[in-house]
Symmetry: C2
Subunit: 209 residues, 2 copies
Amino acid sequence: MLGKEPKISNSVVRRLPVYLRLMQTLKNQNITTVSSQEMGLRLDMNPAQIRKDLAYFGEFGRKGVGYEVDYLERKLCQILNLDRHIGVALIGVGHLGIALSNYTRFQSEHIAIAGLFDMDPQKIGSQVGSLVVQDVRELAATVNDKNIQMGIIAVPAPAAQQVCDELIEAGVKIILNFAPVNLRVPKEVVLRNTDFTTELQSLAYFIAD
Amino acid sequence: MLGKEPKISNSVVRRLPVYLRLMQTLKNQNITTVSSQEMGLRLDMNPAQIRKDLAYFGEFGRKGVGYEVDYLERKLCQILNLDRHIGVALIGVGHLGIALSNYTRFQSEHIAIAGLFDMDPQKIGSQVGSLVVQDVRELAATVNDKNIQMGIIAVPAPAAQQVCDELIEAGVKIILNFAPVNLRVPKEVVLRNTDFTTELQSLAYFIAD
DNA sequence: TAGATTGTTAATCGATTAACAATC
DNA sequence: TAGATTGTTAATCGATTAACAATC
């Protein structure tokens, strides 16, 4: 940790939550210690890769023994900033938005949707889970009030860029986009895209002739 | 094309729908010809990569000119098998499932949800879009009847592996999974995972201290 | 001690980018 | 013809895997 200097690659970062989830699974099975080999077996991954990934952040294992599940879980949470509260704004309260707001509440107590936004007057004011849908015009104010650090864009494609701009304008630096568009963001903003259509279409490639 | 022998990498395949979408956008803007440089500019990609990706499948461009939008669109559709009808079974008609069934109907006329399944008696028989939700026990029969080639798993994590097994048992070889679990599949099955929780957690890594 | 497993370096593999001859 | 741009080879870059000394 102390100075994440060596510049961790995205591929590594994206595997960390997978390790974290495995630790939680193992804990539920009352397994207290695990080797990289066993992890590799369960995750269908190369053990060397797992060791290398973890070693970027510290020496978490014991030679001849393996990793202590509880300890590694805690460390992974620290690395992923999941040991503190993280506020998320979700814009677009359609079926996808609702699905996401259920989803997320689930896994990590620390990532929580702190604000739901839409532009449809029909939706504004309605209750979803424990939150009331707000007018998207209140986005900037709420981001500041509730110290929101991440944004999820779940609006239709044509509205996505504007919502994105508003998030950034409000100071949000991390954005997860579900709209099927190439958003333009300044380079200090971390943007990740999840596009079902693209995913499905690329899978169609594998249909046997 | 003729014998996709050179073994196209997954990274390449996943970029093809992006090119396809760009072609559709360009068509809407009445642009008939585009160079790899212009494509790179719009997609924020390296033009050499775009040319190389396309060249795996044939010589679609003209030197000194570029690519004909209409022609490249057609070619990309062919490569992705989007020039024929593709039936998809969607299991799990929660908010996510409904979102997905709306989504997909949208983009490509050729990929269509052909069956919706759930195990909740409350949902079975209800209408979603133009389809009636079926009992998941009818899955295998419907896959055969309607010649379904792809499956989307949108059920809660604990049910996912069983649904997956049933899809494979019914002959489905291509699966898109949204449940946050590591599914076990035989190696001839193409499995792609989309996991919001993992995505969100990995993004938390980038929160500034 | 003997066996196991880490952390890490070196080797391999694969994907991206640069460069350029061919040619429209 | 001159300028532009492809298709493709070679160079670079980065990520994965193998191997092994250190050590529990």
